[in-house]
Amino acid sequence: MNAAELLLEINNLVKHFKLRSPGLFGETRGTVHALNDISLSIRKGETLAIVGESGCGKSTLARVITQLYQADAGRINYLSSNIRKNIQMIFQDPYASLNPRLTVGDIIAEPLIIHKIGTRAERQKNVAATLELVGMQQSDAARYPHQFSGGQRQRIAIARAIISGPEFIIADEPLSALDVSIQSQILNLLMSIKKEQQLTYLFISHDLASVAHIADRVIVMYLGQIVESGDSAQIFDNPGHPYTQALIFAAPTIGKGKRQKGVSILGEAASLLSPPSGCSYHPRCPKMSDSCVFTVPRLESSCKNGDSHLVACPVTATPSI
């Protein structure tokens, strides 16, 4: 770990949801193991991406960090004074995340009102400046969300996220609801705003291409656990965990021609209600050995890439070459 200043530290975080039968006195039917023993740190000024498929716990993690959910165990250490003011979120669906009854100006000003920043006139000025910063017109403040396209709505959501001058922004699948021809506009905007406002990003996505583009570091999650973490180049050019390898292999690529009869990954992720014993990936893993069924693997530094690259797989960590 280098000496970069930390923004946030998470130790051994656990979040389980009790599933109840319907009704007032419904009995607990099981437990969803959404997050299991998650430890990570986020450095000031970096873009940390979390990748993984549906149900891996990436959105739950975002919600625990923003205190929308309380963790069951573990610690989140915010190394910043006023975390509520300093964290903002950008959500996936800009059609759902903007209140249709408010004007764009009111939507964007809301964080300022909540945190009691500025007078009314100052807020208006701030809204106008922020609108321009995200590539919109000052006059758009008087219009309503339905008058804008998906890409413009996502710009409005970004304006709302940055107006109160936060340090840290969590973007949960900010591109996936947008048309393909709009995605690069928003990706560029996120990157330029980060530079200008000296932000730190937690970028949550299932799209590996955009993660490879924007992230400095990447965490790969599977069934509520971190299976690999490292610098973006380490993860994409030299993935260590069999799941990361499978994920990168399965990502569709352009221009390589039609799929050859592939070695596509087997099966599907197990239910979070009853995660497999040992390494939760073992039922799908081509490199599975007997010990994987019993032993929960620990994140350990990969010998190939030095100590910033952590892989939770004893099988691949053993030097075989």
């Binding site: 291409a209 924007i214 994409f236």
Partner: protein
């Protein structure tokens, strides 16, 4: 070649009545599809790709109509067929898999029953025989323990398994054309790869033609032999997959491919296509991409000629005239 193509669409137009006139959802769209071939149809939301697919089944939602053109299935114009003859084609000769497997399946019927249904409608088979075929097909599409799963309800099985069941449903009558509309979009990446492999296998086995519709260029690149790119209800470009992805000609295709993140540009500004996708409220004459096109000129307001760039490649851009 003089043989009749399996499917030939000529000058297709689909329109919806508005208070003040017509909304032209699809215009002047022509293409053909050969047995055993996979034709990719790429486009963003509102480009008309799903409506084009539905028109092949004559299932355009009300109040939309097929206002123009002909659709020939094995030489016969299906737009002039009486409804009872169309029913013999729909689901049997031409079938479709939809995007969301949870909504495509009936929650109160067992998987096996739903798969067998088309067979019971379209052939003389006994219920027991149809069930047996449904179980065989479930096994073929990679559902383990198919006999037991056939008796399950959709909510009992995972998303990937549901999509396999939906594929089995579309295949039970051994269709000649399979339409896959965003068939892998709702799935996880690793499961998506499995479903693409399955479709490629099944295509070889049944020698069916596939019309594969997606907004995801990567997925289309992995499965299509030929690709059509739509924008604003019109064909922008069509070509062999290798040509579309390696030597695109139309400004829209070129622009779209250039905006995708790629390793050489990591961390840098990506090229963009300014503006946004036209909505149904935007009425325009001429080329629908004109307002976002860096190469557009005055002539694009009036004309959208389709040029044959080579035997396999067509593009709808007047700017390409000079180059040919």
């Amino acid at each position: 070649m003089t043989s009749i193509p399996l499917l030939e669409v000529k000058d297709l137009g689909i329109s919806f009545p508005l208070d003040d006139g017509q909304f032209q959802a699809v215009s002047d769209f022509s293409f053909s599809l050969a047995a055993g071939n996979t034709l990719g149809l790429v486009g963003e939301s509102g480009s008309g790709k799903s409506l084009t697919a539905l028109s092949l089944l004559r299932l355009i939602p009300e109040p939309g109509t097929i206002s123009k053109g002909e659709i020939y299935f094995k030489g016969e114009n299906i737009l002039t067929l009486p409804e009872d003859q169309m029913r013999a084609i729909r689901g049997r000769k031409i079938s479709m898999i939809f995007q969301e497997p949870m909504t495509a399946l009936n929650p109160v019927l067992t998987i096996g029953r739903q798969i067998a249904e088309a067979l019971l409608i379209h052939s003389e088979i006994s219920p027991a025989g149809a069930h047996q075929k449904a179980v065989e097909l479930l096994d073929r599409v990679g559902i383990p323990d198919a006999t037991a799963r056939a008796l399950d309800y959709p909510h009992n099985i995972s998303g990937g398994m549901r999509q396999r069941a939906v594929i089995a449903m579309a295949l039970i009558c051994e269709p000649e054309i399979l339409i896959a509309d965003e068939a892998t979009t709702a799935l996880d990446t690793t499961v998506q790869a499995q479903i693409l492999d399955l479709l490629i296998d099944l295509q070889a086995e049944y020698n069916m033609a596939i019309l594969f519709i997606s907004h995801n260029l990567g997925v289309v690149s992995e499965i299509a032999d030929e690709v059509m790119v739509m924008y604003g209800g019109r064909l922008m470009e069509s070509a062999l997959a290798s040509q579309i992805f390696n030597a695109p000609q139309h400004p829209y295709t070129k622009g779209l491919l250039s905006t995708l993140p790629r390793p050489e540009l990591r961390g840098q500004n990506l090229p963009t296509i300014e503006g946004s996708v036209p909505s149904r409220f935007d009425q325009f004459d001429g080329c629908p991409f004109r307002s976002r096109c860096t190469e557009a000129g005055d002539e694009c307001r009036w004309e959208i000629p389709i040029y044959n760039i080579s035997v396999d490649q067509r593009a709808a851009c007047i700017k390409l005239k000079r180059q040919i």
